[in-house]
């Protein structure tokens, strides 16, 4: 008897068929992976199950009984728990407060915090998920926060655990650890739905794999019956190149020289603790690391968005250490920001207005503070054509474009400016395979044109397939440098989490859950 069954779920958004008669079953003690690209309909499906969205057709059955899940509360009462991709944790509150939120023990509306803390401790010991119940969420590492999310679902009595892209923010070691946790939970009798677009994870964790494309289930298989290439073909609907082809690097003169810079984060803590490196023309230098190890601050200091408190940055011999963003652009630095909605685009502006941002003071776009609409249109149309932005007109607002086209607008603007140095921070985050390929090709074209490229990425696949040289960043320092030929994912992962010296033992499963937080430097 399946614990959870979906029959022909259909969900329509204006203009988009997000789920087209999707069916799936989840047995007790089973891990089903839901594999698909961004936009395939995985999250929509699970949001229906969790009561965040209402299906337009089809049936949900829990324990063989049809149910209409109206709200997350209802889903929780049915034993369905969800670990969201963007954590549903209130940062200034404690672990305990977050876990018991909505189901607080106590009488007459007064919370019994002693009991609450006790229950949290109980559950965390029972499932081996250790965490300090009194710590504030804001002080925890991302891996720890995810653990709190899982505990929250368990506290609420979840029998089915939906994990939405749970590995997106984790290090390879944390991923291994998460897999161990999920496996042990399933051994305890829980079931799990694992949403992801990463092939190797599916193969590692799933009992059964459901592949989704364009809102439909296009295949069902098991890890034993397929491999990554086969899954990729199913997921994308055509053969994909897992690694992009590129020629050898023709290194030119040094373009960017970073010398012992120190940078503070927003809270005034030192995030970059003395980093030095240089990037030459015709070279892609990648910085690999787990999110939050100083990459953002490093990038922002190079592109003039953040002032370093020590050290020196030079572009072709010119000191740009204290340049602001405007001076930096004028010096020849382009920047593809990590968050296109926040940093990359003015969503309310149309494509033309967005595509000249940064060039909006200089000829031909503007002279003496006066802008020239004709010149703007010309520049916009040229860039739209050059970078294959799919739009009926340059007057379409950026918010009405797909994610891939939005990123193309950013890429068109930054590369179209013909910079000396391109700083690309997570340039393919949240894009589908086609768009990823496009962005990768553009970056390689820049390199082949003799420009310097600094790539910052959390995706090891991306780092390994694009970089000529790799630096590993950990806690604000560069802990290791690799030529791309000498690097592989596991070694990188090892250094990314603070390991040093010899190679990692591939069979070892990390013993203590606290590994990522306590590892030392070299």
């Amino acid at each position: 008897m399946p614990l959870l069954e979906l029959r022909e779920i259909t969900k329509v958004f204006p203009g988009v068929l997000a789920n087209d008669r999707v069916s799936m079953r989840l047995e007790r003690g089973e891990i089903v992976a839901l594999l698909g690209e961004n936009g395939a309909g995985k999250s929509t499906l699970m949001n229906v199950v969790y009561g965040l969205l209402t299906a337009d057709g089809g049936e949900v059955l829990v324990d063989d009984a049809p149910v209409k899940i109206k709200s997350p509360r209802h889903a929780i009462d049915l034993g369905i728990g969800m670990v969201h991709q963007h954590f549903m944790l209130v940062e200034p509150l404690t672990v305990t407060e977050n876990i018991v939120l909505g189901r607080e023990p106590g009488r007459l509306g007064v919370i019994d915090f002693a009991t609450a803390r006790e229950r949290v401790r109980e559950i965390s010991e029972r499932y081996g998920l250790r965490v300090d119940p009194d710590a504030k969420i804001i002080d925890l590492s991302v891996g720890m926060q995810q653990r709190v999310e899982i505990l929250k679902a368990l506290y609420q009595g979840a029998r089915v655990l939906i994990l939405d892209e749970p590995t997106a923010v984790l290090t390879p070691q944390e991923v291994t650890e998460l897999f161990t946790v999920v496996r042990s939970l399933v051994d305890e009798g829980l079931s799990a739905v694992f949403i992801t677009h990463k092939l190797e994870e599916v193969v590692a964790i799933a009992d059964r794999i459901l592949v989704m494309r364009d809102g439909k289930v296009v295949g069902e298989t098991t890890p034993a019956a397929t491999d990554e290439i086969g899954l990729a073909r199913m997921m994308v609907g055509r053969d994909v190149v897992l690694r992009i082809e590129k020629g050898a690097s023709k290194r030119g003169a040094t373009v960017l020289e970073v010398e012992d810079i120190h940078v503070d984060d927003d809270r005034g803590l030192e995030a970059v603790k003395g980093i030095s490196f240089s990037v030459s023309g015709g070279e892609i230098l990648a910085i690999a690391g787990v999110d939050g190890n100083g990459q953002r601050e490093l990038v922002e200091s190079i592109v003039g968005l953040r002032r370093p408190k020590g050290g020196r940055i030079e572009l072709k011999g010119n000191d740009i250490t204290h340049a602001n963003a405007r001076a930096s652009i004028e010096a020849g630095v382009s920047h593809i920001p990590e968050d296109r909605h926040r940093r990359g685009l003015v969503l309310e502006f149309d494509i033309a207005e967005n595509i000249i941002l940064g060039d909006h003071r200089t000829p031909p776009v503007a002279r003496n503070g006066i802008m020239h609409p004709k010149a703007i249109t010309e520049v916009a149309r040229k860039r739209i054509a050059d970078y294959d932005i799919r739009t009926p007109s340059e007057r379409v607002d950026a918010e009405n474009l797909s994610g891939g086209n939005q990123q193309k607008v950013v890429v068109a603007r930054e590369i179209g400016r013909n910079p000396e140095l391109l700083v690309a921070a997570q340039p393919t985050r949240g894009l589908d395979v086609g768009a990823i390929e496009f962005v990768h090709r553009q970056i390689i074209r820049e390199r082949d044109a003799g420009k310097a490229v600094l790539l910052v990425s959390l995706e090891l696949e991306e780092v390994l397939s694009l970089a000529d040289r790799i630096l590993v960043i950990y806690e604000g320092r560069i802990v290791k440098e690799f030529a791309v030929a000498d690097a592989d994912a596991e070694t990188l992962g090892y250094y990314m989490t603070g390991g040093g010296g010899s190679k990692i033992d591939k069979d070892a499963i990390p013993g203590t859950p606290e590994t990522p937080a306590t590892g030392g430097d070299e």
């Binding site: 997000a18 698909g36 961004n38 502006f349 909006h360 802008m371 009926p392 007109s393």
Partner: protein, 375 residues
């Protein structure tokens, strides 16, 4: 682009304009309807009231002149608010900057006595703009440097400005006599009345030009509206203002200084409010006293919101509120309805305009859901 495509795009533009104009109209209509309901419940005759109001605002050339008179500072204050809103700044304290602008004009006009009008008028207007900008400067710096909310700081500066002007007209700037007010501006520093520009014969022939107290400030206001529109649309200053208003982080990435843009925006907003104070002093009262503004700075909020922060649309929006305010006296006189009903209607307009954003908001959210939430 082919001709057909051009056609399509202009059609779309018209549809967009129709939608943009339709909702403010509906808001005003709804506000007037609810206003009548309130009057009816309170035992007044709404039809008689609105008839009187119309009579007092458009019924005669003189009444229309009064409408223009009231609209003039409203256009300028509304422009100030709109320019601020475009940078995501709420200059709720425009009234304070308006007071300082009035003060600058009222004082400098006396100092410049004896100068010809072509020297005095531009200098007075310029001084008022500078005074308004200066009064917005401290809130602007506080906003840019430490993020102190401009709604609180500009409001506080409004109270401070009022007490300051009150002190000056009672104290140092007081003209001889019982009444706390400054001396009369010399004619060269006054904005001439519209009808004074025409000969008696012309006025005889064209009686609609007998617009009573309406003065040339309306020309200043209209020119200002066109300039603000041009600045927002065709200059880097305006582009940066809008970019910062929509998304300061992206603007910063594009090399725009958010802090500096914020300071500029609030000061420009203040200078327009200062100009509003100046035309009121130079065109209507011809002297400074502490009650010279009947809340034009606050009504400017409603004007800007109704105009959806479009500088040209500010003109009709200001005319509407100017008419309400000009006709209110006649309404009270003829239909006995308290003038305060005008404030209620004004508040209702703001509610509906703000709630109207919801319709588009819903549509946008649905579209966003469709594009980003799938997956």
């Amino acid at each position: 682009m082919s001709a057909a495509a051009e056609d399509r795009s202009t059609n779309r533009d018209w549809a967009a304009i129709a939608q943009k104009v339709g909702t403010p109209f509906a808001s005003v209509l709804l506000a007037i309807l609810i206003g009548s309901l309130i009057m009816w419940v309170s035992g007044y005759d709404p039809i008689a009231a609105y008839a009187a109001l119309f009579q007092g605002s458009f019924g005669t050339p003189k009444a229309f002149g009064d409408t223009l008179l009231k609209s003039t500072p409203l256009i300028l204050a509304g422009l100030g608010l709109a320019y601020g809103f475009r940078a995501n700044l709420f200059n709720i304290g425009a009234e304070g900057q308006l007071f300082m602008g009035g003060l600058a004009a009222g004082w400098l006009g006396l100092v410049l006595a004896g100068q010809p009008w072509y020297v005095a008028l531009p200098l007075l207007l310029l001084a008022a703009m500078l005074a308004g900008a200066a009064w917005a400067f401290i809130p602007a710096i506080l906003k840019a440097r430490i993020g102190a909310h401009e709604v609180i700081t500009t409001m506080m500066f409004t109270y401070i400005a009022r007490y300051f002007v009150s002190y000056l007209v009672i104290g140092p700037l007081k003209s001889p006599g019982q009444i706390p007010q400054t001396g009369l501006l010399p004619p060269e520093s006054q904005l001439p009345r519209i009808q004074s520009l025409f000969s008696d014969a012309t006025l005889q022939a064209m009686p609609f030009l007998k617009m009573g107290r309406a003065h040339m400030g309306i020309l200043v206001a209209i020119v200002a509206a066109v300039i603000v529109w041009w600045v927002l649309k065709y200059t880097t200053l305006g582009y940066e203002n809008r970019a910062v208003g929509y998304n300061p982080w992206a603007a910063e990435t594009g090399g725009i200084s958010v802090q500096w843009t914020t300071v500029k925006a609030l000061c420009i907003s203040g200078s327009l409010a200062g100009l509003a104070g100046a035309v009121e002093v130079m065109g209507v009262h011809h002297r400074l006293f502490d009650q010279f503004s009947s809340g034009f700075g606050f009504t400017g909020i409603a004007v800007a919101l109704l105009a959806k922060n479009h500088p040209i649309a500010v003109i009709p929006a200001a005319l509407l509120f100017g008419a309400l305010s000009a006709g209110a006296g006649t309404m009270q006189l003829m239909a006995d309805v308290p003038q305060k009903i005008i404030l209620i209607v004004q508040a209702l307009v703001i509610f509906f305009v703000a709630a109207e954003g919801i319709v588009t908001y819903f549509v946008k959210q649905r579209q966003k859901e469709a594009t980003s939430n799938v997956g």
